[in-house]
């Protein structure tokens, strides 16, 4: 099977392109402030901003802990896990990046948690116990990217079918070669 034809998509670090401006609105500033105070409990956590979203980078071992903290602490109250995204940075050592977008319906905060995973063992603890909505998102990540979730072994395929080989979400998975023209 031929590789995809567009080779100009490569790792983002190589390209010398402008980087987006970062700005936070009022509520984001607040969140940033209070998050900074409490983040020190979690060793290795870094706080940053991407465009208008407060982002916390954290080690995968700390994930469930910080999630529980963020959900159950009164001043954060992230009661709603919006989305779990996997990004495959193909050429990095820390190849996969899991991004959890959290939203607090009650307090109208929004933030993201990032976890980087090595390519050889992309395993991350499951947050199903914290938010039930993680269920299918995690299964999807497992389907498409081959991410393993601690505590959720032998996940049956969700989007793909039994017997599908490979992880089509990954960058290395080729596009279908359609030869009609």
């Amino acid at each position: 099977m031929p590789m995809r034809e567009s080779s100009n998509i490569s790792s983002k670090r190589e390209i010398k392109a402008p980087v987006v401006r970062e700005y936070l609105d009022q509520r984001g500033e607040n969140l940033h402030k209070i998050l900074k105070e409490s983040i020190s409990d979690f060793p290795g956590a870094e706080i940053s901003v991407s465009i208008d979203m407060v982002t916390v980078k954290i080690d995968s071992v700390q994930l469930v802990k910080i999630c529980e903290f963020l959900k159950y602490t009164e001043k954060f109250g992230f009661d709603y896990l919006s989305c779990i995204t996997v990004v495959d940075y193909e050429e990095d050592q820390e190849r996969f990046e899991m991004i959890y977008h959290l939203i607090s319906i009650r307090l109208h905060h929004k933030m993201a948690i990032k976890v980087s995973l090595p390519s050889n063992d992309p395993t991350v603890p499951s947050v199903l116990g914290v938010w039930k909505s993680a269920d299918w998102f995690e299964r999807e990540a497992h389907d498409l990217f081959g991410i393993e979730f601690e505590g959720r072994e032998n996940l049956p395929p969700l989007l793909l079918y039994e017997g599908f080989e490979g992880y089509p979400g990954r960058k290395s998975y080729p596009f279908h070669d359609y030869g009609e023209w």
């Binding site: 079918y161 599908f164 998975y173 596009f175 279908h176 359609y178 030869g179 009609e180």
Partner: protein, 207 residues
């Protein structure tokens, strides 16, 4: 895929997902699945008689195309629109039935993904003869916008024989109605040619 020697029709083997690699661009030959003239009546009686009656039956068949209500994706919405008040496929005698057993036409409206390949084949097989297939939309014709996708079947004719292809994404209801009318035309023409066809088939069988 196997060709049954006795009946000379394709019987898709029902095992596993996609069939083996087929050359793109030509799926099944249409018309294999829908030869309506294959009945005791036609086998016993002389062709001169059956050809006439076939034409009558074809008139009935073409005026009463019941579809399997089977929407896959976006095109399904336009298919429903075609049934709705403004376009009203019912005028042509086209109504939907939930079970394949009562259907004559399968309108494959939408993207056929590999996971769905099996059910589609199965449902097609479960329809009673004579049966027809309309591939609605570019996805069902040849993959359409998803031609690069790893999980889309590039045209439903890789799975089942298709009689009419309706292009568009989605085809507007009128286009679908036009497709139905083309199918009616086809049914009529097939019956008109059934005399010749029959004799051809007989010859083939002897060889």
């Amino acid at each position: 895929m196997e060709i049954d020697e006795n009946t000379n029709i394709h019987i898709p083997k029902y095992d596993g997902f996609l069939p083996a690699e087929k050359p793109l661009g030509d799926g099944y030959k249409a018309g294999k699945g829908n030869n309506p003239a294959d009945s005791v009546f036609n086998r016993v009686l002389p062709n001169a008689l059956t050809a006439k009656s076939d034409q009558l039956f074809a008139l009935a068949r073409k005026s009463s195309l019941w579809t399997l209500s089977f929407g896959l994706a976006c095109c399904a919405i336009e298919m429903i629109s075609a049934h709705a008040s403004h376009h009203d496929l019912d005028r042509f005698g086209v109504v939907t039935w939930p079970s394949p057993r009562q259907a004559d036409v399968m309108i494959v409206a939408g993207t056929v993904v590999k996971k769905m390949a099996d059910p589609i084949k199965l449902l097609y097989e479960q329809m009673p003869d004579p049966k027809w297939v309309i591939a609605m939309g570019s996805c069902a014709t040849n993959g359409g916008p998803y031609y690069k996708s790893y999980s889309v079947v590039m045209g439903v004719d890789h799975l089942i024989p298709v009689d009419v292809y309706v292009p568009g994404c989605p085809p507007r209801p009128e286009a679908l109605i036009y497709g139905v009318m083309q199918l009616q035309e086809k049914i009529k023409n097939d019956a008109n040619q059934s005399f010749e066809k029959e004799s051809l088939n007989a010859n083939e069988g002897e060889q």
